[in-house]
């Protein structure tokens, strides 16, 4: 089974408005796909559908060789999704937050992995502070530490650059390309201009239900 997510004839209508129609999209190992479009064009909805959160769509989703609905747990075990909200409890410390995420995947996880991933996002020294005491950008980094915490092939990121400073943005962008280079896949939306457009597949959602794959 390969880590390949495929959408065929995907259409989504919400409250009588067609967001997109007959969208065909595949994300395989080594691919970075960027979903573009104006506000309200359905980027977040598309990401939610493709991450298995939202099943009010027409069409077919496949993970590897099987329909996604049938291998849901295997799919989710290979996915990291970061949405608009961080998913981080501010009353807990960064380490406690990460331990919870390790446990959600069904593993007890090691302290070393947690410390390493916090180090990777530049949060060494903040491990044992309640997240509430960190800045918005640092809170966001705690969420990003999940990318390092459990190595998973498919990253679905909704506006990952929000609230992060310039050096952080550059480092994250580089990290995304590294992930792709070693056979991972990334699906993201962002208003931020990526420095290197090389090897990026783009999906443009329009105001109407039209779309283009570039």
């Amino acid at each position: 089974m390969s880590a390949r997510l495929q959408a065929r004839n995907l259409s989504c209508e919400r409250d009588g408005r067609m967001l997109f129609r007959d969208l065909d999209l595949a994300i395989g190992p080594g691919e970075l796909v960027r979903v573009e479009g104006p506000n309200g064009s359905g980027k977040t909805t598309l990401l939610k559908i493709l991450s298995g959160q939202f099943d009010d769509y027409q069409g077919e989703l496949r993970w590897g060789d099987a329909p996604l609905s049938r291998v849901r747990e295997a799919f989710l075990a290979n996915l990291v999704y970061l949405g608009h909200t961080t998913g981080i409890k501010v009353a807990l410390t960064a380490l406690e937050n990460l331990a919870w995420y390790q446990a959600l995947a069904g593993e007890t996880g090691s302290e070393a992995a947690r410390l390493n991933s916090l180090h990777a996002v530049g949060l060494s020294g903040f491990e044992d502070l309640p997240v509430a005491q960190l800045s918005a950008g640092q809170q966001r980094r705690v969420a990003l530490a999940r990318l390092e915490l459990t190595p998973r092939p498919l990253w679905v990121l909704d506006e990952p650059f929000t609230a992060i400073d310039k050096p952080g943005v550059a480092a994250l962008e580089q990290r995304l390309h590294e992930h792709v280079a070693v056979g991972g896949s990334v699906l993201l939306t962002t208003h931020h201009d990526l420095a290197s457009q090389g090897g990026v597949k783009r999906v443009q959602l329009g105001e109407g239900s039209e779309h283009a794959i570039l």
Binding site: A77, V121, P151, R152, P153, E178, V182
Partner: protein, 243 residues
């Protein structure tokens, strides 16, 4: 953000689902307990509300012990029901706001089982304290002596169902900005059977009838809720997260 050299150099492998439902449920249970311990007022508020409502009744009706004693089982149960309701709105609210609810839905585990962890903490932090506190308030209402143990037992058992059924309502309304009043409209009618058999048990104890049957029915309601509610809660959360 400096990238870790180690993570980037090794190729990404497919991950097989590990199972580990027990680990995940224990983690949710533990996390919610820690959060509750760090915000103690959330535990105390329903208890204070319970005591306050019970204080209002003698003031609103009459201080006569005989009259209070006859209505005490009902009053205690209704007040406990309302106190539980008060705490329900917060059950998923914080998780919804900070996005950890969304992540819970994305865990490679059955959601209906995971939410049981959260409901268990809710019961431990609301239903159980209410049940333990009720005898004290029973004293204020001149509740006859034989029924104190049954009052606590029936509340402890009944509040499991209240938490489970209430969690469905909380899950349905968590995405709404003003879900509180609506939550009571959804949940209270569904809680009526629990109320009937809960007060029934206490009344039976007072008049010296066997309380076994009432407690057995409360237990049956609890089992039914345990079997069915998790699926309804999970389905409702999936709807609310996309509201």
């Amino acid at each position: 953000m400096p990238s870790s050299d180690k993570g980037a150099s090794s190729a990404v492998e497919m991950v097989e689902p590990r199972g580990g439902l027990g680990v995940a449920m224990a983690a949710i249970f533990k996390r919610d307990l820690i959060l509750a311990a760090r915000r103690r007022s959330d535990i105390l508020n329903p208890l204070a509300f319970f005591a306050l409502v019970i204080t209002l009744f003698p003031l609103g009706i009459s201080p006569q012990q005989a009259l209070l004693a006859t209505i005490a089982p009902g009053l205690l149960w209704v007040a406990a029901l309302l106190a539980t309701l008060l705490s329900l709105d917060a059950l998923f609210r914080a998780d919804f706001d900070d996005g950890s609810l969304e992540q819970l839905l994305l865990a490679p585990q059955p959601l209906s089982a995971l939410v049981l962890g959260k409901v268990a903490v809710h019961w431990l932090m609301t239903g159980l304290p209410l049940a333990l506190m009720a005898p004290l308030l029973g004293l204020l209402l001149a509740l006859p002596g034989e029924s104190y143990l049954v009052l606590s037992l029936s509340l402890a058992l009944g509040s499991v169902s209240l938490s489970l059924i209430g969690a469905i309502g909380a899950a349905l309304t968590v995405g709404l900005s003003r879900g509180g009043v609506l939550l009571s409209l959804l949940v209270l009618p569904l809680n009526i059977p629990v109320l009937i058999f809960g007060t029934g048990a206490v009344q039976a104890a007072i008049i010296g009838n066997p309380v076994g049957p009432h407690l057995a029915i409360l237990g049956a309601l609890c089992c039914g809720a345990l079997m069915l509610a998790p699926f309804a809660i999970a389905a409702s959360l999936r709807i609310s997260i996309n509201g």
